[in-house]
C-alpha cells in the first residue's frame, strides 16, 4: 500500500430522479489498499462501485481514478467525457459482479481471452497462455473448454475473477461476489479473493455482507449508511469496537461477539 490515493470521490452527489443516493460524498482509497464497504441494503455501496466502473454517471463532484477525472469539461454524454477517455479509465479498473455475468455463448477459455485479444491486442496464443495460468490460479484448470451453463455458481464466479484479472486492472471491484452462491460454495470463492488480497499492487474495493471475511482481507472497513460513510477504520477497530451506535446495531445482527465485546 502506498500513500497516493488511486480512487478519489470529492463532494460527489448521485441521484436517481428524486432519490439522492450519494450526498456530498468524500472517499479515498490508496493504491494497493484493500477496502471493504459494509452497510444496510440500499445505502449506496453498489452505487459507489458502479460509478467507478463507469456504469453510472454522477450529477456533481469529482471522481478520479489513477489521476483520471471521470468528467472532462465541455464533453457530451452522461459522463461528460469522450469514449476514448472512458476507455482509458476502464483500462485501469475491473469488476466482479454478484451474478457473475459470464458470456453464456463462449467457453470458459474464450470468456477470459476475448477481451485481452480484442481490447488489449494480445495475440491469441499469449491470451490463452495467460488464461490457463489464471484458471490454474482459481483452481479451474480442467474447465477451460466448459461453458458457463455447465459450471456451479462458485466455479462461475471464479471464472469471472479470472476474466477480470486477465485485463490486468489496477483496481478490482467486487460487488457482493458470494451473495448469489449456495452456502457450501462461498468458501471456494472467498479463498480465491483472499489470495488476491495478498497481491501487493492490486487495489481492491469489495462490498460484502460476510463480516468475518471482510475482517480477514481488509486493510480498512467502511460502514455505509444512507449514502455516507458513518465510520471507517481497520477491521479490528470497526468490527470489534465500533464507536457509532448505528454501526454497532448493524454489526450486532451479523457478529454476535460485537454486542457482547
Amino acid at each position: 500500500m502506498t500513500d497516493t490515493p488511486i480512487i478519489r470521490f470529492q463532494n460527489v452527489s448521485k441521484r436517481y430522479g428524486d432519490l439522492t443516493v450519494l450526498d456530498h460524498f468524500d472517499f479515498e482509497v490508496m493504491s494497493g489498499e484493500k477496502v471493504t464497504l459494509i452497510g444496510p441494503s440500499g445505502s449506496g455501496k453498489s452505487t459507489v462501485l458502479r460509478i467507478l466502473m463507469t456504469l453510472e454517471p454522477v450529477q456533481e463532484g469529482v471522481v478520479e481514478l489513477d489521476g483520471l477525472s471521470y468528467r472532462q469539461p465541455g464533453r457530451h454524454g452522461p459522463f461528460h467525457a469522450s469514449a476514448r477517455h472512458l476507455h482509458q479509465i476502464r483500462s485501469r479498473v475491473g469488476m466482479v459482479f454478484q451474478n457473475f455475468n459470464l458470456f453464456p455463448h463462449m467457453s470458459v477459455l474464450r470468456n477470459i481471452t476475448e477481451a485481452p485479444v480484442a481490447v488489449l491486442g494480445l495475440s491469441k496464443a499469449d491470451a490463452r497462455a495467460r488464461a490457463h495460468e489464471l484458471l490454474e490460479m482459481v483452481g479451474l484448470a480442467d474447465k477451460a473448454q466448459a461453458f458457463p451453463a455447465q459450471l456451479s455458481g462458485g466455479q462461475k464466479q471464479r471464472v469471472a475473477i479470472a476474466r477480470a484479472l486477465a485485463m490486468r486492472p489496477r483496481v478490482l471491484l467486487f460487488d457482493e461476489p458470494t451473495s448469489a452462491l449456495d452456502p457450501e460454495l462461498v468458501g471456494e470463492v472467498q479463498e480465491v479473493i483472499r489470495r488476491l488480497a495478498h497481491e501487493h499492487d492490486l487495489t481492491m474495493l469489495l462490498v460484502t455482507h460476510e463480516m468475518r471475511f471482510a475482517r480477514e482481507i481488509s486493510d480498512r472497513v467502511c460502514f455505509f449508511d444512507q449514502g455516507r460513510i458513518v465510520e471507517q477504520g481497520p477491521p479490528g477497530e470497526i468490527m470489534i469496537n465500533p464507536a457509532q451506535p448505528r454501526t454497532r446495531a448493524f454489526l450486532g445482527a451479523y457478529l454476535p461477539e460485537t454486542s457482547t465485546g
Binding site: M53, T54, L55, A83, H87, R90, S91, G94, M95, F97, N99, N101, L102, F103, P104, H105, M106, S107, L109, R110, T113, E114, A115, A118, V119, Q145, F147, R163, A164, M167
Partner: protein, 220 residues
C-alpha cells in the same frame, strides 16, 4: 385426367413464386438486420430513419404498397418491371417486420451482459458484434422463420400486378376451365408443399446458427 393437364402451368407459376419468395426473403433479411440493428443499437439519426421505415411498412397494407409502386410511382417517377416491383415491395415489407424481431432480440439480451462488456473495456461496436448479437441471433431465428413462411404466402398478392405467379396461374386456369375445385385444391397443395420445404430449410438454418455459435466457442 384434369390434374395432369393442370399441373404444368401451375408448376410454372410455382417456380415464379419460389423465385419471388427466395429473393425477397434474402433481401428482406438483409434489410431486417440493417434496420433492426440501426433502430436497436444505432446513433439517433439512424434510429429515427429506421423507425420511420419500419413503422410505415408495418402500418400499411402490402397490397396497397404494391399498387402504389406499380400504378402511382410511374406517374411521378420511374416505371419498374412488375417482377422487380413485387420483389421490392415484398422485401421492404418482410424487412420491416423482421427488423422488429431483430431489434427485440437485441434488446432482450440482459443489461448485465452490457455491463460485463463495459467492465472488460469493449467498445460499443465490439460489444454489439461479439457479445450481444451472438446471443440474440439464436433467439431471432424461429420468428424470422415464421416471417419467411408468411412471406411465401404474401407473394400471392403480386398476382394483382400481373405477375404470373402460382396464384395468377390458378386464376387463369380457373377462368379457362371453370374447374374451381381441382385448380384451387392443387394450388393449396403446392403452396403447402413449398411452405413445408421452407420451414424445413429455416429449421436447418436455425440449427446451423446454434452449432456455428458453439463452433466459435470451441475455437477460442
Amino acid at each position: 385426367m384434369s390434374g395432369t393437364l393442370l399441373l404444368p402451368p401451375l408448376l410454372t407459376g410455382a417456380q415464379v413464386t419460389v423465385e419471388l419468395t427466395l429473393t425477397s426473403t434474402v433481401l428482406g433479411a438483409m434489410l431486417a438486420f440493417s434496420a433492426g440493428m440501426a433502430r436497436g443499437a444505432g446513433p439517433w439519426p439512424l434510429r429515427l430513419f429506421a423507425a420511420t421505415y419500419i413503422e410505415i411498412f408495418r402500418g400499411t397494407s402490402l397490397l396497397v404498397q404494391l399498387f402504389w409502386l406499380y400504378y402511382a410511382l410511374p406517374l411521378i417517377g420511374p416505371r419498374i418491371d412488375p417482377f422487380v416491383t413485387g420483389i421490392i415491395a415484398l422485401s421492404l415489407n418482410i424487412g420491416a417486420y423482421g427488423a422488429e424481431v431483430v431489434r427485440g432480440a437485441l434488446l432482450a439480451v440482459p443489461r448485465a451482459q452490457h455491463e460485463a462488456a463495459v467492465a472488460l473495456n469493449f467498445t460499443a461496436r465490439q460489444t454489439l458484434w461479439r457479445i450481444i448479437l451472438p446471443q440474440a441471433l439464436p433467439e431471432m431465428m424461429p420468428p424470422l422463420g415464421n416471417l419467411a413462411v408468411q412471406n411465401l404466402k404474401d407473394t400471392s398478392l403480386v398476382s394483382m400486378i400481373t405477375i404470373a405467379d402460382l396464384t395468377f396461374r390458378a386464376q387463369t386456369l380457373r377462368n379457362l376451365t371453370l374447374n374451381s375445385i381441382p385448380v384451387y385444391s392443387l394450388t393449396l397443395l403446392l403452396y403447402f408443399a413449398m411452405a413445408l420445404v421452407l420451414m424445413a430449410g429455416m429449421r436447418g438454418l436455425e440449427r446451423w446458427v446454434r452449432i456455428k455459435g458453439q463452433g466459435d466457442m470451441a475455437r477460442a
